[in-house]
């Protein structure tokens, strides 16, 4: 699903506390502005990032996020990779179904997030952790 892309610029952040979320969001915003992403797409990307980082804090007590500028042909985009060493997701298909949630949230975390970005990839191993990669293209 994730197409051939070239990484141009990279940043790694550790998110362990709730307060780190605001810092992280601002960093994503800086990157998005740098590649001239439109306001609506910026908002979608940051909202998606916000959902994922919240999941990471809630279920895995935090983790690591990589922010990258990627390019595909003439289009630039932002790729975010969320890595945690939490409990993992036993049934990814179920987790991606609208209305499903184990936490107390509204249950639209993952499927909603997927709709906000252009590419969404999730790998998870129970007991080991989860790795989610999303890409939003500047013109996507």
């Amino acid at each position: 699903m994730i197409t051939a892309t070239i990484s141009l610029n990279k940043d790694t952040l550790n998110v362990l506390r709730e307060q780190d979320v605001v810092v992280f969001r601002n960093r994503v915003k800086e990157y998005a502005v740098k590649i001239k992403m439109g306001l609506v797409n910026q908002t979608k990307l940051i909202t998606a990032a916000s959902e994922l980082v919240r999941n990471m804090l809630r279920y895995a007590n935090g983790g690591q996020i990589i922010i990258e500028v990627v390019s595909r042909g003439r289009d630039n985009g932002i790729r975010l990779t969320f890595k945690d060493e939490g409990p993992g997701i036993p049934d990814i298909k179920l987790a991606l179904t609208d209305g499903y949630s184990t936490g107390k949230s509204l249950g639209l975390g993952l499927p909603g997030t997927k709709r906000l970005v252009n590419e969404f990839d999730i790998k998870s191993e129970v007991g080991k952790g989860t790795r989610i990669t999303i890409i939003k293209w500047a013109n996507g």
């Binding site: 307060q19 609506v40 908002t43 940051i46 916000s50 949230s105 997030t113």
Partner: protein, 137 residues
């Protein structure tokens, strides 16, 4: 410690969110507002989110909670000034923001609240009020 100020104006409570909300701040606001409604007997809450650039499902849930909780205390909630990008994102995310009314700006939001409350009062008094033609569907 940051805190979002709640202003009281007659029977209404006004809140303007000027900063990016992190979770604790939002939860505190929810608790403070409900307490305030109960203490003051306010009939309406107006939340201005025109300075908020990101509303995720958590924030959405807090706003919805405020609406439902204050409804239990007989107060209506109206959210005003949502940015277009935020509205588009919320729709895509699938977040309907139930339990609250929305209005374009503070002025229209106040009108809406006054209307809702007047409607309520008329129902209590009876439909023979002179102003009732303003309120027909």
């Amino acid at each position: 410690m940051d805190k979002i100020p709640i202003l009281r104006m007659g029977q209404f409570l006004l809140v303007t969110i000027q900063v990016d909300l992190y979770d604790r701040l939002a939860l505190d606001l929810e608790a403070d507002l409900v307490k305030m409604v109960s203490k003051t007997g306010a009939r309406g809450i107006l939340i201005d989110i025109s300075a908020v650039s990101i509303v995720d499902s958590f924030m959405g849930r807090i706003i919805g909670n405020i609406g439902v909780m204050s409804k239990l205390l007989d107060a209506e909630t109206v959210v005003v000034g949502m940015q277009p990008a935020v509205a588009i994102t919320l729709v895509e995310l699938g977040l309907p923001l139930k339990g609250v009314y929305t209005a374009l700006n503070v002025e229209k939001g106040m009108d809406l609240l006054k209307n809702k409350i007047q409607l309520d009062e008329e129902e209590e008094i009876g439909p023979d009020d002179d102003n009732s033609n303003d309120l027909t569907e």
